[in-house]
């Protein structure tokens, strides 16, 4: 069953139909989880004794920061699938994920920066984690920019695939070196210190939100992929039939 | 020199660009000694077909075989001259040839005089006229011994004399057992060729 299922996902038409259903499910699920988790975190989780209410940003910041990194990995997986199985859909996914990934990275950066103001008194410090996040944002931008620069979608997809693969090989090296750089200088600035263990009343809503954001990301990526599939397959008979029926 | 027998087999080739079907079910066989002219109106897909045959454009559907082998193994037997100048503007005529061919200077110079660029081997290509630049690119036909020639509009910008010279060279090449594919919008008089018309897909 496994392989057939995999290959069926490779067919644009089947993907388009199935993804429509999945997208709907993901959308509602994400909405419920996010509303619940966010309200819980904002209103019901206890106040942090050190940071006060500003810590409530965590319920957005951390899920989004996780996602930002996970999506780059997902993009790399897509690149491998594209080159190994020549599956066009992987390229579609890559295109969708690049945009969403960049959005989440930007969100993580901005939410972190805003959080930094009350806790550190400044929006930006050259902390290791922040720096590598910034670089991740540039990597995403590179993928988006490269795709935009090349007219032919197939060609653009392959070029982006090469870039993503080279990038993902480098990513651990970048993270490691940035951390090392940061300790090398022993900056006077503050760092994201190891927090004391959170009480369950704090981390349970965080968990809910993490799940919610992951599902929301799936919802967004599927939605974007459906649009791209439709656009790329606009000459295919199944698209014409589909639109003709509508 | 005399080339070994060659067989080019194109089967069921199909190509789409920008959602426009250029050709489909294209099957041809070509053998040593044959000349094929690819004809058709502007935008018919002549360049696309020639580039596919030269391995520069990926086959979308169908197959191309050279002596029963896949195309990729035979690339160094192909001499492709396309739309683009194929020469570096900042180098001299001679230096341009030296890079892309592996023959000695006397052979290069005789190739240059064959294409009427005798006194020009030290000129930079950017100082040549349009037609002289084309002649410089075509000079490789006189000094490379690839059996398969793929020429995209080789007559562009050439004057009447040079057209004759080129025709004679192509005739000589196929007489030696080579194959030549080319496109042009002006049917050449001196050549004995088959024609493949593109641009009539439904």
């Amino acid at each position: 069953m496994g392989w057939r299922w995999f290959h069926q996902w490779g067919s644009p038409r089947l993907f388009y139909e199935r993804a429509g259903r999945w997208q709907l499910v993901c959308g509602w699920l994400a909405l419920i989880l996010l509303v619940a988790g966010s309200l819980w975190g904002l209103g019901f989780a206890p106040v942090d004794y050190q940071q006060g209410n500003s810590y409530r940003i965590i319920y957005l910041h951390v899920p989004v920061a996780f996602l930002a990194q996970a999506m780059y990995a997902a993009m790399a997986v897509c690149a491998v699938v594209l080159f190994v199985w020549k599956m066009k859909l992987a390229d579609v996914a890559m295109q969708a994920i690049a945009v969403m990934g960049f959005a989440f990275t930007a969100l993580a950066l901005i939410s972190g920066a805003v959080w930094g103001k009350p806790t550190w008194g400044t929006y930006w410090v050259w902390d290791a984690r922040l720096t590598s996040m910034l670089i991740l944002a540039f990597l995403y931008l590179g993928v988006i920019g490269l795709r935009a620069a090349i007219q032919d979608p197939d060609q653009a997809g392959k070029a982006c695939g090469i870039l993503v693969l080279v990038g993902v090989v480098n990513l651990p090296i970048i993270k490691y070196s940035v951390e090392w750089w940061n300790t090398l200088h022993q900056p006077a600035s503050l760092k994201l210190t190891e927090k004391p263990a959170m009480p369950a009343s704090m981390w349970v809503p965080l968990l809910v939100n993490i799940l919610g954001y992951y599902i929301a990301a799936a919802y967004l990526v599927l939605g974007s992929m459906r649009a791209i599939v439709l656009e790329r397959e606009r000459r295919a008979t199944w698209v014409k039939e589909l639109v003709g029926r509508a | 020199m005399i080339f070994e027998p060659i067989q080019i087999e194109i089967s069921q080739l199909r190509c789409e660009r920008d959602d426009r079907l250029l050709f489909k079910n294209l099957s041809i066989k070509l053998e040593s000694g044959q000349i094929l002219r690819v004809a058709g109106p502007n935008g018919a897909g002549k360049t696309t077909l020639l580039r596919t045959l030269a391995g520069l454009f990926d086959i979308q559907e169908g197959e191309i075989r050279l002596n029963q082998q896949p195309l990729k193994e035979y690339l160094e037997r192909i001499l492709y001259i396309g739309h683009k100048p194929q020469v570096t503007k900042d180098l001299t005529v001679l230096d341009n040839l030296k890079f892309l061919t592996d023959v000695d200077e006397t052979a290069l110079k005789s190739a240059l005089s064959a294409v009427g660029l005798k006194g020009y081997h030290d000129s930079l290509v950017k100082e040549l006229s349009q037609g002289q630049g084309r002649r410089c690119a075509l000079a490789r036909l006189w000094c490379v011994d690839a059996p398969i020639w793929i020429l995209d509009e080789p007559y562009t910008a050439l004057d009447v004399d040079m057209v004759k010279t080129l025709d004679a060279r192509i005739t000589e090449h196929v007489a030696n057992g080579g194959v030549c594919l080319f496109t042009t919008h002006q049917p050449p008089q001196q050549l004995d060729y088959q024609t493949l018309e593109l641009g009539h897909v439904d």
């Binding site: 070029a159 070196s177 | 520069l56």
Partner: protein
């Protein structure tokens, strides 16, 4: 002559035809470096403190900008597609081209950095460390920026896109080099870091040409 020799000969002739190509990055480096004291206060302590880092960044930029169009003119003249018909793997030819580029365009740039160092009153021992890091790191930088150049071949006015796309990948190199320079200032051992940098370069030099050749093939496929 073998293709390798012809390639080298061609590179030399191109340089002879356009000697400016060699001097342009050097000039760029010196320009950037001389802008720094002008834009800053001419306070030589501060300059010496930031000097080696500035030189590194400026050299990095000069290299990147100079490598950006590595394949462009050959691509648009249709010479690059002729490489596919040569009886060598494309990746090998690309590697050769990168080596030639490093030799004739990057090396002169490195050799000019001491002058930049003098302009910013960088101490001699740091300057020596700077030179060594540049020697060790530039192969990797050249390879990656060649990849940027190849990836953006197809888009007609890609501008500096290739640079932008590749720059984040240079972070480890920049950081390691900064580490070497700091240690050289302290007088502590720089060898382990240099070894790391060297390893990075070696790996890049062996693997990146393959990616570059894939990128070139890709872009040739899309052109007419």
């Amino acid at each position: 002559m073998s293709i390798e020799k012809r390639m080298l000969a061609r590179e030399l002739k191109l340089i002879a035809a356009r000697p400016g190509d060699i001097f342009k990055p050097m000039w760029f480096l010196i320009l950037v470096i001389s802008m720094v004291p002008l834009a800053l206060a001419p306070d030589s302590d501060l300059l010496a403190e930031i000097g080696s880092a500035m030189i590194w960044v400026a050299t990095l930029l000069a290299l990147l900008l100079n490598t950006e169009h590595l394949f462009q003119s050959d691509f648009s003249d249709g010479v690059l597609e002729q490489w596919l018909f040569l009886d060598r793997p494309l990746a090998w030819l690309v590697g050769l081209k990168l080596v030639a580029h490093w030799l004739f365009h990057v090396l002169p740039l490195i050799l000019i950095t001491p002058i930049a160092g003098l302009m910013l009153s960088v101490p001699t021992e740091v300057l020596i460390a700077l030179l060594i890091t540049l020697f060790v790191a530039t192969p990797a930088l050249t390879c990656f920026s060649g990849l940027g150049a190849a990836l953006t071949l197809g888009s007609s006015r890609s501008g500096i896109l290739g640079v932008l796309v590749m720059m984040p990948l240079f972070v480890p190199v920049v950081i390691l080099a900064a580490g070497v320079l700091i240690r050289a200032t302290d007088g502590s051992d720089t060898l382990p870091l240099l070894a790391l940098l060297g390893a990075f370069s070696v790996v890049a030099a062996t693997l990146v040409p393959i990616a570059v050749s894939a990128a070139i093939r890709l872009n040739i496929g899309g052109s007419n």
